[in-house]
Symmetry: C2
Subunit: 551 residues, 2 copies
C-alpha cells in the first residue's frame, strides 16, 4: 500500500556524486595512495591529494578534446593509476566512463564500441596491436589516446593518436559541474554467453550508495590505512567497487598492472604490505602455489576476497588452514555494481571451530546492506529461506540495473512482474541468510528427469589432489536426456586416472550424479572475464560418446 | 553550470528507509542486542531479531490507535529499548517520531506539542507528574500511552491512559508500506536561546545516509560486535545517530535509562563491556571522578565520544594520558542530524606523540563524508582553510536541514544566498581539515572593538585544578562595551581565589582578554540539552559591577 498523507521531510537534497569521494579522500585521507606496478615496469605512487589535482587537470583536457556531459568515453586498460584517474575525470564532467574488456572477441569489441557510441578511447600500449587491427571497424570520429608519456605513442597505424600525459592542462582545479545523482557515470558490457553483449549504465547515485553499502558490510576490508590489491580488473564491473570504496574509506589501492602470475603478485603484495586482495579463483591458485613454493604469506596479507566464480572449498581451506589468511567469499554480477553478498561471519560464528567456519565460507555469503534477495519456484512464487528450498534467484536494490543500455528486448526479459532482476542463478538461502548458489540455470544437467548440479560435482572434484581446475558440462544422451562429463586440467606433477576421479566424486554424491566420463585438457578455456568457458567446452565435446550406464 | 546533455543511468531507485536498517540488523547481525537499564530497575535485553518482531507488533498497535502516515507521535522518554522500538515502528508506518526533551520549560513543552500537532504521546512513568501538570494545555484528542506493562499505569489524573505493552498485537510480521525516501520519519525541536523552539523534520533519506556516512567516517566505533552506550539522549537529535547507525553496523546498544551519574554509568559500562560511550562533557566529569575513585577503567572501554559542547583539553588529557582511553571529539547540531565533524586522526597522525595527539583531539575534528563546511567573512565571502582565518561557519549536506517545520520566518533567516545553513558558530578550519570552533556568534565578547572568545577563556580556566566547570559571559561595560566575567563551579575540596584564577588565565592570554572578575556558584545552570545556560547566567549577573580596569 502507498500511504496518502505522507509528510515530506525538510532536509537538503544534495546529489550523491562520485566526484565527492575523491574530494573527501584528498582532504580527510591525505596519506592514502595509489601504487601502480606500471605497464612499462617499476612502481609509481600518487597520494589522493595529488590524484585530485591530476584528475582536475585531466578534466580540463577532456573538455578541450570536446568531451561533454553524457558522452561515452572508452577505456582499454589494465589496473593502473591512469585508469583510476579516468574513472573520476570522465564522471566528474558528467560523461560516462565505458570500460572495455580487452579479452572480448574482435566482433564483440567492435559491437560494443559502436553500440555505446564512444567519442574517445583511452588504451594502454599493450593493446596497440589489438586496436590497430580493429581500427577500421571503429566508429567515425573516435578519438584515440594512448596511456603514455609524450613522445611514447606506439600506435603508429592509427591516425592522430594523442599521448595521455599531453592532455593534462596546467590549471590545478576544476569547477566541477552540478548535476543530478541519477546521471550516468560508467558503462560496462556483460559478455553474455548468448547474443550480443549488454550494457549496464551505472548512475552516480548507485556508485556512491554501493560504496557506502560496502562500508557497512565489508567492515574488515574498508578501514582507513588498509592496502587493497584488486586483481579484479577495473575494466570489469567497477573492479567490485574498489576504485570508489577504497578512497572513501581511506584505503590505499595497489594496482597490479598487467602481471597477474603468482610470483609477480606475491612480490608486489609482500613489498606493499597488501592487507586485502581481490580476485577470481584461478588467480588465487597461482598465488597459493607461490606461497607453497616460498612457504610464506606475503607480508601483511590478512584476507583474500574471492568472487567471479564460486570459490572451491579446498582453496578456502588452503588459505585459512594452511596460512591463517581469512577468506571472504563474495557473489555479485556486473548488473549489481557488482557486490551482492559477502561471507563475513557474525561475531558468534567467528568463534566456531576452523572447519565449520570454512564450511560457512564455502557458501557465497550474506547480503550486503542495500541488496534484497528472493528465490522463487517455476511459477514465480517465493520460496522459504530455509537452506533447503532451491529456486531461481532474483535481486533488487539501489545498485541493481533497471534495464540494459539501448536494448529494450533484453531489458524486458530480465525482470519479473515485481521488477526484480533475474540473476540466472539457482540458489538456496539458509535461515541465517547465507546464499548457496546451486548453479547457473543454464549449467544444470537434467538426467532422467532429475537435476544434477555441475557446481556440486566440480567442487568435489577440486578436492582431489590431481585436479588443478575442472568443469562439468552436460552431454546429450539418448536415454537420460543429458549426462555429466567432467573436464579436468591436471595438477602439476600428477596423473590421476578416470576411475580414480569418478570414485572420488562417488564418495560424496549419489551414483547417478557421478560423471560418466572424465576427459583431460592441457588448459581449460576461459571467458573474457576469466571464468571457465562452458560454452566452448560444450562445443568441443558435443560429440563425446558416453558409453557407460549411469548408476 | 548545469550540463544539458546528461545521460540518465539505468539503475533501480529504491527508497532509502530506516525500516530497512532494522530488517538488515535482524537478518545479518542476529547477535546484536539492546540492553536497557530499565526505568523500573534491572537490566533488560532484546536481540535485533526479537526487536524486529516487537516493532512489527507495535506497528499494528499504532495502526489500531488510528495513527497513520504523516501523523506526528510524541515521545517523552529516557534511553530505553521501548524508545528505540518507537523510533522504528512510528517511522515504519510513515508517521513521524517526535522526540521531546523533558527538561524543556512548561511553556516550551506546551508550545511544541501543540505546534507539532502530535496525535499521541508515549511517556516514561518518571514523567507522569510533568505530563499531569500540563495535561490541560495539551492539544485535543492527544492519546496518552505510558511506557509500562499492563496494569502499571501511574498517570491517574489523565483520562484513558493506555499501557504500552497493551498495544502489542499478536501478528509477528507487518506489511510495511512503500513510500518515498523523502518522507519525514522524525521531528526534533531545538531549544533555541531566543524565540520559540524550532522543529527539524528529518527524512528517511537523511537518516539512512547519515548512518552510512557514519560508517565511512567513524570507523573505530561502527564495527560489528562493538557495544555502544549513548548517554546522549534519544530525545535529542537522534542520539547522534546511534539508534540507526548501531544496528546497521551490527553494534549493540547499552541504554542507560535515567541514571546518568558517574557511579551508575561506571557499573553499567563495566558490566556490559561497553567499547564506545557517547556524551556531553559534564557527563564525563562524573565518570572520570568515578574512575579516579576506583582507579580503574570500565572493562572494555576503548573510546569516549564527546560532543554537545567543546571538550576541554584537560578532560581529553585525563582520558588519554591517565587512562589510555581514546577520545573522539565531535561537533554537530540538531539541524545536522546531528554529526558534522569527528576527531578521528589519519594513520600518520596516530603515530604522533601523545601530547600532540591530544592537541589535535582538542579541536572539533574533520568533516564526516557527506558534510561540506565553509567559513565566511562579514560580507559572506569565503575564507581560506588555513587555520588562521576565522569566520561564521556554514554547512551543507544530505543530512542538513533545509527549513524549519511550519516556521517560514526562521527558515528564511537560517540560510545564505547559496543555500548553506548558518550554524551560528564562529570557526577556523586548518589546512588538514580540522574544525576549530572559536565561539558561538552570540557568545563572543566585544571589548573595546576587539573580540574575546569565551570558549578560549573557559578552556584555559578548566585547566586549573580548582575549577570543576565554568562559563564566561559578557557583562555590559560603559567604556569597553562588554567585558568578560568568569563564573566558576569549584572542584570538590578546593577553594581557588579570584586573583589566582585570573593569574592562571593571564598566563595564556593577553591581559585585556582576562576576565575582570570571577564569581563562584554552587552549580552552573544547564539548558534542556545539558549545556551550561549562558542565557540564565547573563540574566543572573546582568547587574554585576565590573570595577577593574582591563589590561
Amino acid at each position: 500500500m502507498l500511504p496518502e498523507n505522507l509528510l515530506a521531510g525538510q532536509m537538503m537534497h544534495r546529489p550523491l556524486r562520485v566526484g565527492d569521494i575523491l574530494e573527501y579522500a584528498a582532504e580527510i585521507h591525505p596519506d592514502g595512495e595509489i601504487v601502480t606496478a606500471a605497464v612499462e615496469g617499476g612502481l609509481h605512487r600518487a597520494t589522493y591529494p595529488a590524484l585530485r589535482t591530476r584528475v582536475a587537470r585531466l578534466a580540463h583536457g577532456l573538455r578541450a578534446m570536446g568531451i561533454g556531459a553524457g558522452d561515452r568515453v572508452a577505456t582499454l586498460a589494465w589496473n593502473t593509476q591512469r585508469h583510476f584517474e579516468l574513472y573520476y575525470a570522465i564522471a566528474g564532467i558528467g560523461a560516462v566512463c565505458h570500460t572495455i574488456n580487452p579479452r572480448l572477441s574482435a566482433d564483440q569489441f567492435t559491437y560494443i564500441v559502436n553500440h555505446a557510441g564512444d567519442r574517445a578511447i583511452f588504451f594502454d600500449s599493450t593493446f596497440t596491436p589489438l586496436l590497430e587491427a580493429l581500427w577500421g571497424r571503429m566508429p567515425d570520429g573516435l578519438i584515440p589516446v594512448e596511456l603514455c608519456a609524450p613522445g611514447h605513442v606506439t600506435a603508429h597505424t592509427i591516425p592522430d593518436v594523442r599521448a595521455y600525459e599531453d592532455l593534462f592542462e596546467h590549471s590545478d582545479s576544476f569547477d566541477w559541474p552540478d548535476f543530478s545523482e541519477e546521471a550516468a557515470c560508467a558503462l560496462c558490457y556483460t559478455s553474455g554467453t548468448t547474443g550480443d553483449p549488454k550494457g549496464v549504465l551505472y548512475s552516480h547515485r548507485a556508485m556512491v550508495l554501493h560504496s557506502l553499502f560496502l562500508m557497512a558490510s565489508a567492515q574488515s576490508t574498508y578501514r582507513a590505512g588498509n592496502r587493497i590489491l584488486p586483481v579484479v580488473p577495473l575494466f570489469h564491473a567497477n573492479a567490485w567497487g574498489i576504485p570508489y570504496a577504497a578512497p572513501l574509506a581511506g584505503c590505499s589501492i595497489v594496482m597490479p598492472g598487467p602481471r597477474l602470475d603468482g610470483a609477480s603478485l606475491w612480490e608486489l603484495m609482500n613489498g606493499e604490505e597488501v592487507g586485502t586482495a581481490y580476485g577470481v579463483p584461478t588467480v588465487w591458485l597461482g598465488l597459493l602455489d607461490e606461497m607453497d613454493r616460498r612457504g610464506a604469506v606475503p607480508k601483511g596479507l590478512r584476507e583474500v576476497v574471492i568472487g567471479g566464480s564460486a570459490a572451491p572449498r579446498p582453496m578456502i581451506e588452503r588459505f585459512m588452514a594452511d596460512y591463517g589468511v581469512d577468506v571472504i567469499h563474495g557473489w555479485g554480477m556486473t548488473e549489481m555494481s557488482p557486490v551482492g553478498t559477502l561471507s563475513a561471519l557474525t561475531a558468534r560464528m567467528e568463534k566456531w571451530p576452523l572447519q565449520e567456519r570454512i564450511d560457512l565460507k564455502a557458501r557465497q555469503g550474506r547480503r550486503m546492506f542495500g541488496v534484497d534477495l528472493k528465490i522463487v519456484d517455476d511459477a514465480g512464487s517465493r520460496l522459504p529461506h530455509d537452506g533447503l528450498a532451491t529456486g531461481e534467484l532474483f535481486v533488487r536494490g539501489n545498485a541493481v540495473v533497471s534495464g540494459y543500455f539501448e536494448n529494450a528486448a533484453a531489458s524486458i526479459s530480465a525482470f519479473d512482474a515485481e521488477g526484480w532482476f533475474a540473476t540466472g542463478d539457482v540458489a538456496a538461502i539458509s535461515e541465517d541468510g547465507f546464499l548457496m548458489i546451486a548453479d547457473r540455470t543454464k549449467d544444470l544437467i537434467k538426467s532422467g528427469g532429475e537435476w544434477i548440479s555441475s557446481l556440486d560435482v566440480e567442487s568435489i572434484a577440486m578436492g582431489h589432489p590431481g585436479v588443478a581446475n575442472c568443469a562439468v558440462i552436460a552431454i546429450p544422451h539418448p536415454k537420460w536426456d543429458e549426462r555429466p562429463l567432467l573436464v579436468v586440467q591436471k595438477a602439476l606433477g600428477t596423473d590421476p586416472e578416470v576411475d580414480e576421479l569418478r570414485a572420488h566424486v562417488g564418495k560424496h554424491l549419489a551414483s547417478w550424479q557421478v560423471p560418466d566420463d572424465v576427459v583431460f585438457v592441457d588448459e581449460l578455456p576461459l571467458t573474457a572475464t576469466g571464468k571457465v568457458s562452458k560454452l566452448e567446452l560444450r562445443l568441443r565435446f558435443k560429440d563425446h560418446a558416453i558409453e557407460r550406464t549411469p548408476g
